[in-house]
Subunit: 278 residues, 2 copies
């Protein structure tokens, strides 16, 4: 990819600054997608754009034009081998005050970023993971959305500096385990998958959908049910997913190590493959 640290389009035009009156800045009034780019192609584009549109509908503003987003993406990713494309859509400009102006025009902000330098070994040999103290905010109206109110994740991710710890797991205020700071969480025990329901908090990741689809292909049973810490520690295998990493098996969580011979590697391979599709 280009050595340019940032390439940025706002509403389709090269621009790296947004009005201070943008409601994204004022209130986190927006949504985003973080999209893997391989060989000049944004991966799982339709899934990302569908989720974004659904998010706009839930927040009550018009989704940006899908063709315009496609053009933005093409402009930034052309000739780009490997990168991260971030699509951020805000409710647009507004006056002071929470009330969304009737005249608000959603704003699309599309930026290209370096691929993160995660060690290749993370996918193969697994990662070390910790518990975070910062709880996830619960609100059924916002649950599942990848919206721009992300202080929970920011505070959780600032709990550790150790580069050997790849991710932190977050619970809701009742102590149920929900997800990682930037990943969804699955446990695998006795041949069955379990992942938390995301109806009160959490982000319904695009890679999470790929796990569910791959599990169907492999006829693996999946349940969505509350998971407490002990259930995560007791599982045969635990793994984390997002659209950039695909799958990271958990090798160690707070001193508990997971035996790699129990990891569902055929499932992992399918998820990773699905996450690389255009």
């Amino acid at each position: 990819m280009s050595a340019d640290p940032l390439r940025s389009l706002i509403d389709g035009r090269p621009n790296d600054a947004v009005s201070v009156l943008d409601r994204g800045l004022q209130y986190g009034d927006g949504l985003f997608e973080t999209i893997a780019v391989f060989a000049g192609q944004p991966c799982l584009w339709q899934s990302h754009i569908a989720r974004l549109s659904q998010g706009c509908a839930r927040l009550g503003f018009a989704a940006p034009d899908a063709d315009a987003l496609r053009d933005d993406a093409a402009q930034l990713t052309q000739g780009c081998e490997r990168a991260v494309l971030k699509v951020l859509v805000t409710r647009g400009q507004g006056g002071r005050g929470y009330r969304p102006p009737a005249s608000a025009q959603p704003r699309r902000i599309v930026t290209l970023h370096d691929w993160p330098e995660y060690p290749e070994a993370f996918g193969e040999h697994g990662v070390r993971v910790r518990w975070c103290d910062t709880p996830l905010s619960a609100n059924s109206r916002l649950a599942g959305l990848k919206h721009c109110n992300r202080l929970d994740q920011v505070l959780a991710r600032s709990e550790w500096d150790d580069p050997a710890v790849a991710e932190g797991l977050m619970c809701d205020e009742s102590g149920q385990v929900i997800e990682g700071t930037m990943t969804n969480l699955f446990v695998f025990s006795n041949g069955a998958l379990q992942t938390p329901a995301l109806d009160r908090c959490g982000v319904a990741g695009i890679a999470r959908d790929q796990v569910l689809a791959a599990a169907r292909q492999l006829a693996l049973p999946v349940s969505m049910a509350p998971l407490d810490r002990q259930a995560v520690l007791n599982a045969d295998a635990v793994f984390l997913t997002n659209a950039l990493i695909g799958v990271w098996p958990v090798a160690e969580l707070a001193g508990r190590t997971y035996d790699p011979t129990h990891w569902p590697r055929d499932l992992f391979a399918r998820v990773v493959e699905r996450c690389r599709q255009p």
Copy 2:
């Protein structure tokens, strides 16, 4: 005040656009203060700046220099009869990813806005208020802060269009009444004040502090305790506060009217007076 719809300083320089990489835009990773300006003076300046500093400490970044903020405010409010000064501080620029960069430099964004055209009668005769369906997100790590993750308030404020309804009351997910979309809430019954504790959600308003101080001066007992909807409906009087409005008594809530002869007008007068102090 100036007819200029927006006057804006970023880090002390006239500028109305901020980098798309600012963490305020990316994650709502910031805090703000909404400050009344009367006769060229920001009101309750020290209280606002103290709250802002405490918020920065809780989010884990350096507070902006108080003298620099004072200079920004002076530059914008000079000769300004009546306006709203908004001070927004973000964690500054960052790369992609939730982790706050060690090198982040907090950014101060100070903007001047028109005074909102609330009818004068609101303070004297009270306002009509409704219940909102959107719940408040609960998170003890963020409770009390005036941070930039405000989708709860945005969604709640978009529940109604009727200009005759001045405010909406919000509950947490367990149904306890917490505050208005832009105000704190007090009830008054049998000569005593009650207001919800804000240890799980809500914003600890500067005007709320003025109510507590004025109540001490008048030797009115105040309790901070959970309030359910019925307790609000049963109260002798209900009122709302923020730094711009001072006090709005509630005249009607969802069909229930409150008898103005029960309103603690001496308290209201003291709160309004306190909210006009520099």
